[in-house]
């Protein structure tokens, strides 16, 4: 399931909802990305996340389909937020559900790597008196 939304999400509720639909899940791996207060030695006050929604959904679905081909997965949940976000707020959740941990952990990593490389989202980061559009690099991917 892919969700592209402005609203915050509750990790426990999101996991519980998918868990309630399957009884064979033995492993859930999650990655949660947050807005942090320092980037490149600058004080970050907030970010603005822009998205190309139609393409982001398609791109994430394709990444998840490929993950399902590479590993034995029962379900996948990706939530990516957009709009204005403050320091400490959640940006993204990737949760992978499998029978065994190897599949869920490897798939979670894979999805995040490709999300950062290909999904059309852009972060505009605000500092005390300045702002900058960010760009994912091999270092940040």
């Amino acid at each position: 399931m892919i969700k592209i939304q402005k609203e915050d999400f509750n990790l426990e509720n999101e996991i519980s909802f998918i868990k309630s639909q399957h009884s064979n899940i033995g492993a859930v791996s999650t990655f949660v990305g947050y807005v942090r207060n320092i980037n490149d030695k600058k004080n970050v006050t907030s970010i603005d996340l822009e998205v190309y929604p139609e393409m982001a959904e398609k791109s994430l679905l394709e990444i998840c389909d490929q993950a399902k081909k590479n590993w034995k997965l029962i379900d996948i949940l990706v939530i990516h937020r957009f709009g204005a976000l403050n320091v400490n707020q959640k940006i993204v959740l990737v949760a992978t559900f499998a029978i065994h941990r190897h599949d869920s952990m490897a798939a979670c990593n894979y999805i995040m790597d490709y999300l950062k490389q290909d999904a059309p989202f852009w972060k505009k980061e605000y500092y005390d008196n300045d702002y900058k559009w960010l760009q994912n690099t091999t270092k940040t991917i």
Partner: protein, 82 residues
């Protein structure tokens, strides 16, 4: 065709989307020429640094694909999600 611009590219074009029905725009390369003439400030990012990514109907392209009037083409800088 509909052209969409994202992130800081919008600062150059002063719009997030526009429609063109120019017969001279037949493929990706001719679109690039058209846009660089219309917005000279785009030129270095498209032709020199080559950091502008292009998607046609929600699919990335890196080749000189043919374009039709019904296509939606998006131009954007390197992504930074996650």
């Amino acid at each position: 065709m509909k052209i969409r611009y994202f992130a800081w590219l919008k600062n150059i074009t002063n719009t997030d989307s526009e429609e063109f029905n120019e017969p001279s725009i037949r493929d990706v390369d001719s679109l690039k020429i058209f846009l660089c003439n219309k917005y000279p400030k785009l030129d270095p990012y498209i032709n020199k640094e080559k950091i502008v990514r292009i998607a046609i109907n929600l699919e990335y392209t890196t080749t000189n694909d043919k374009l039709s009037f019904s296509d939606e083409v998006a131009l954007f800088p390197p992504v930074s999600g996650g």
